[in-house]
Structures are given as structure tokens and as C-alpha cells.
């Protein structure tokens, strides 16, 4: 089967600095691909290019067989690419329910334009992530872990085919991490392919079908989790030993 997402020679330059350099990879249907690498490796930049938040310097991205490299972010959202942000991006003055309803109303091309039904769908998503009891609260009043749940619910309400998760587990305790892993697996079982950026090693290892490692913007490993984590290059990258 053709991959859901294919990224070829993807490169991003910022005024002299190369943040992402000629990265190639594929993501298959219902696969969970973990994206790891030391800080500053370019992971978020890579996701930004896939979601359309950042422009592409070189290379191309194809989603479901279509070239989306230069499509604006909202078009990609309508095609089925959803994402969460590491620095969370709620709509602060809107209620938690309405935050999610935006995704329901605008997410996919065939999304429902009816406000009432969009809100009903949003309630389901809030239930799914465990935020239903806060539906009427203003989004800005939520605490850290709840904000992460909201980010996820917002992305899910778009009914994406591809979900890009950017560090959803940072700052969570062990119990909460287990919950998030379970939720992500449930999302995948519902038919969504997922690309996850994460720093919590134990979590990413048990969650991912495959791991992709970035270092200084380049891909240095791609494969089964245990193999990748045992790879000396990857260990070097994290421990910072200079390669000869």
C-alpha cells in the first residue's frame, strides 16, 4: 500500500542556518512513527513543514499521493493533516468545547457546517480525552495536563488521517504518561496514522512501531525501536561525543 506520508530531501534553511537537511522518510497507514533526537535537532521544524506552518526550502512532501509541499496550512488541514503544538495553542477566550468545535467545523473537507452537530461531535472528543467535565470552562483557565488533553481533542475533532503530535508528554507524571500512550494507541486503532515527537524515552519506545532519529537536522537512523536505540550513532548523538 502506498504510504500515507512521503517526505523526500526535505530541507529548511533559516538565514544561513540549516535546520533540517535532506530528510527522507515514509509513514505507512496506521503506523506510529516516533521522531526523536537531541534538542535543536530540527524535529519541530520538520513537523512545521509537514503541517504547513513553515515553508519548505527544498524537497517535497506528499500526503495520500498528492504533493502538498506548497499548499497553505488550512488546505492541508482540510485534506486530513492534524497537529498539536509543543507550546500549546488554545483559543484562550473560547470555551473548551468551542475550542474543539473549531476543528469539527473546519477540519475535513466534508465537515459538518452545523454548529449544534459540531458541538455534539466535540463533546465526544472531549469524552475521549477525558475533558468532558470542563467543557464550559474558558480554555485559558486550564492547567498544564488539561491543556495537553485539549490540544489532542482539537486535533482529533478535525478527523485527521495523519496526526502530528509534538511532545504531548512533557511535564506529565508516570500515570498520566501511561494514559496518554493508551489514548494514542486507541487513536491509531481508529484508523489514524501518527507521527510523534517525544523526549520521554520509555514512552516513545513502547508507543512506536518505528523510530526516526534526527541530529543537527539530518536523519541518522530509521527502523525498529530497539535496533535504533542500540545504534552507536544514536547513542553518540545523545551523549554528545564528537565523531572522529
Amino acid at each position: 500500500m502506498a504510504p500515507i506520508l512521503a517526505v523526500r530531501r526535505l530541507t529548511k534553511r533559516f538565514a544561513g542556518l540549516v535546520a533540517v537537511s535532506a530528510v527522507n522518510f515514509e509513514l505507512h497507514d496506521r503506523e506510529i512513527l516516533g521522531l526523536i533526537g537531541p534538542n535543536g535537532a530540527g524535529k519541530t521544524t520538520l513537523i512545521n513543514m509537514i503541517s504547513g506552518t513553515s515553508s519548505v526550502s527544498e524537497g517535497d512532501i506528499s500526503f495520500n499521493g498528492r504533493d502538498v509541499t506548497h499548499l497553505p496550512a488550512y488546505r492541508r488541514a482540510r485534506m486530513g493533516i492534524g497537529r498539536t503544538f509543543q507550546i500549546m495553542h488554545p483559543f484562550p477566550g473560547l470555551s473548551v468545547l468551542d475550542n474543539v468545535a473549531v476543528g469539527a467545523l473546519f477540519g475535513r473537507d466534508d465537515s459538518d457546517r452545523n454548529l449544534a452537530r459540531a458541538r455534539a461531535l466535540s463533546r465526544e472528543k472531549l469524552d475521549f480525552v477525558g475533558l468532558a467535565h470542563r467543557a464550559e470552562q474558558r480554555a485559558e483557565s486550564l492547567g498544564g495536563p488539561d491543556r495537553k488533553r485539549l490540544e489532542l481533542a482539537k486535533a482529533l475533532s478535525m478527523r485527521p488521517r495523519l496526526l502530528l503530535l509534538d511532545e504531548v508528554m512533557a511535564g506529565l507524571n508516570l500515570v498520566e504518561i501511561e494514559e496518554v500512550i493508551a489514548v494514542i494507541k486507541k487513536v491509531r486503532d481508529g484508523g489514524i496514522s501518527i507521527l510523534v515527537i517525544e523526549h520521554v524515552m520509555k514512552a516513545i519506545r513502547s508507543l512506536s512501531d518505528r523510530l526516526l532519529v534526527l541530529h543537527h537536522g539530518e536523519k541518522i537512523a530509521d527502523g525498529a525501536p530497539q535496533k535504533v536505540l542500540d545504534d552507536p550513532q544514536v547513542i553518540d548523538a545523545y551523549l554528545g561525543r564528537k565523531r572522529a
Partner: protein, 316 residues
């Protein structure tokens, strides 16, 4: 329960306002026309400033375009008033689309400054157009009957408010509010932000333009400085902000209240009225930055602490 009371109050107010020409004095009717037009301006600003969150400091341009569109149509081409209004509205839409696309890419305060500068530029441009009568302006045909203008203005305000009501409950309005709250997140969730911003800008322009057209015909005279009156921006923004940007009735209430008080003060010294607006903005921004509508919503929970809370969260 509360909603039906509100509807009742609005209904009664509408009836009183609509029948006013029969029992109010001539000067009160004139005051009424000015206030109704100002309220329309505040409400139209609400669409781009309150719902979309793009604070335009130059919506006076649309008002001026509407005034001149109507005047030129009637004076130079001898077309009827209705056509004149339509021309003014069309000019507003064209301006909103052509200028809106580049200018709406600017963030918050840059957008504000840019629209302010645009407002000034338009005055100078129009002053040099012969078809617009240059610096001397145009004189429109006289139509007696303030009552007619009054009802027209009231009708316009009602229509504008109904449009805002629709926006508040529609997918379009949802998109605007998402843009206001977090534009980047809105884009990534599928909102075509450029299209929606331009639409909101054009919509706010249309109603401001029609208000300008009615005003021009009513006072029968316009020149560039008064048609594109920069001071209108002050008024429409603070009326909307004071009443509650992003609410349905806030700007209307704000306009009526502030107009009323300013009129009372005007009878004393005319500069005092302008001073009054300045003081209102300052006090409102410190203690009730989200307007009366928000005060109404949260006063019940917080009481007088509401005002202190606003200061506490915003001060250093």
C-alpha cells in the same frame, strides 16, 4: 429566562425608537440620526475589530467612500439615492478586497497603524480628485424630512445588528473568533484565514459606507476632511470597546450611552465632549477592557472585584 427578558427589552426599545419621530422634538430627532449612524459604525467595526480581532483604526475610510460614492452618483451622474448607496457600498468592498489582502497580513498593532495611515492618505487623494469636487467638496440635492433619514438610519442599525447576530451563531463567525483568539492555530485547523479576514473587513466596510451615504444625503454637503473624519475612528472604537467588542448588543449600547453623555456635555463646552471620550477610553481600558457586555456577564460572580481583577492581571 434571561434571554426572553432581553428580547422583550430590545423589542420595546425598537418600538419606542421607531415611533420617535411622532413625539420627539426636531433636535432630538437630529441627535437620534447622528447617534444611530454612530451606532452603526460601532457595530460595523465590531465585525472586524470585535469578532475577527483586527483592530482597524481607519474604518473612517469606508464611511468616506460611502459618502463620496453616494454624492458623486447623485451630483455628477444624477442617479437616484439608492443607486448612490449601492455605489458607495461597492467602493467599500473594492477597497476592502484590494487593500485588505496585503494589509491584513500585518499583525495587530501594525495593522492598526497601517489603517490609520491609510485613512489620512485617502483624505489627500480625494482632495485632489475633480470628480469628487476637490477640496471644496460637493453639494447634494436637498431632501426635507429628518424623519425619513431617521427611519433609514434606524433600519440600517437593525440590519447591521442582525448581521452581527448571524455572525455570532454561524460557522463564519466561529472562524473569525478562532482567528481572533489564535490565528496560527486557526489556520492549522482548517480556517482559510485570508478569505475570512477579507470578508469580515468588506462586511464592516459595507455598513460603514451605507452609513456614510445616508449621512451625506442628510447634511447635503461633504468635503474630504469631514467625510473621512478621522475623529470617527476614535468614537466608533471606544463605543464598541466600551460596550463590548465581540458581543451582539454591546456596541449599540456603548454608542447610545456615550453619545448621550457626550451630548449632555456638549451643551456646556464642545471641547469637553472630546475630553470626555478620552477619559472614558482610559478608564475603560484599565477597569473594563472587555466592555460592558463582559461586566454584565461576570459581575454577578465577582461583584466589584471584577474591576480589581482586570487591573491585577494586567499590571506589572
Amino acid at each position: 429566562m434571561r434571554r426572553s427578558i432581553l428580547l422583550g427589552v430590545v423589542g420595546i426599545a425598537l418600538i419606542v425608537l421607531a415611533t420617535a419621530p411622532w413625539f420627539a422634538s426636531a433636535s432630538l430627532i437630529q441627535f437620534g440620526i447622528s447617534t444611530l449612524l454612530l451606532a452603526t459604525l460601532a457595530q460595523s467595526w465590531n465585525i472586524i475589530g470585535g469578532y475577527a480581532g483586527y483592530a482597524s483604526f481607519g474604518n473612517s475610510v469606508f464611511y468616506g467612500l460611502g459618502s463620496y460614492g453616494t454624492a458623486i452618483a447623485m451630483v455628477q451622474w444624477h442617479l437616484p439615492f439608492g443607486v448612490g448607496l449601492a455605489l458607495g457600498a461597492a467602493l467599500a468592498v473594492i477597497f476592502a478586497v484590494m487593500i485588505g489582502v496585503p494589509v491584513l497580513r500585518l499583525r495587530g498593532h501594525y495593522f492598526a497603524i497601517c489603517t490609520l495611515a491609510l485613512a489620512e492618505v485617502m483624505i489627500a487623494i480625494v482632495s485632489n480628485l475633480d470628480v469628487a469636487g476637490g477640496n471644496t467638496g460637493l453639494v447634494l440635492p436637498l431632501l426635507r424630512g429628518d424623519a425619513l433619514f431617521y427611519e433609514l438610519s434606524l433600519g440600517l442599525l437593525v440590519v447591521t445588528t442582525l448581521v452581527v447576530l448571524w455572525i455570532a451563531h454561524s460557522r463564519f463567525g466561529f472562524g473569525l473568533m478562532a482567528i481572533r483568539e489564535n490565528e496560527q492555530a486557526a489556520a492549522v485547523m482548517g480556517v482559510d484565514t485570508t478569505l475570512y479576514k477579507v470578508l469580515a473587513f468588506a462586511l464592516s466596510g459595507v455598513f460603514a459606507a451605507i452609513a456614510g451615504g445616508i449621512h451625506a444625503y442628510w447634511i447635503t454637503f461633504l468635503d474630504p476632511v469631514s467625510a473621512f473624519d478621522i475623529g470617527l475612528n476614535v468614537k466608533m472604537i471606544i463605543m464598541s470597546v466600551f460596550g463590548g467588542p465581540g458581543s451582539i448588543l454591546g456596541p449599540v449600547v456603548g454608542a447610545f450611552l456615550l453619545s448621550g453623555v457626550s451630548e449632555l456635555l456638549s451643551t456646556e463646552i464642545s471641547t469637553l465632549a472630546a475630553l470626555f471620550f478620552g477619559v472614558v477610553i482610559v478608564v475603560a481600558v484599565v477597569f473594563m477592557p472587555r466592555g460592558l457586555a463582559d461586566v454584565g456577564r461576570r459581575f454577578r460572580q465577582l461583584g466589584w472585584r471584577y474591576f480589581a481583577e482586570n487591573v491585577r492581571t494586567h499590571r506589572v
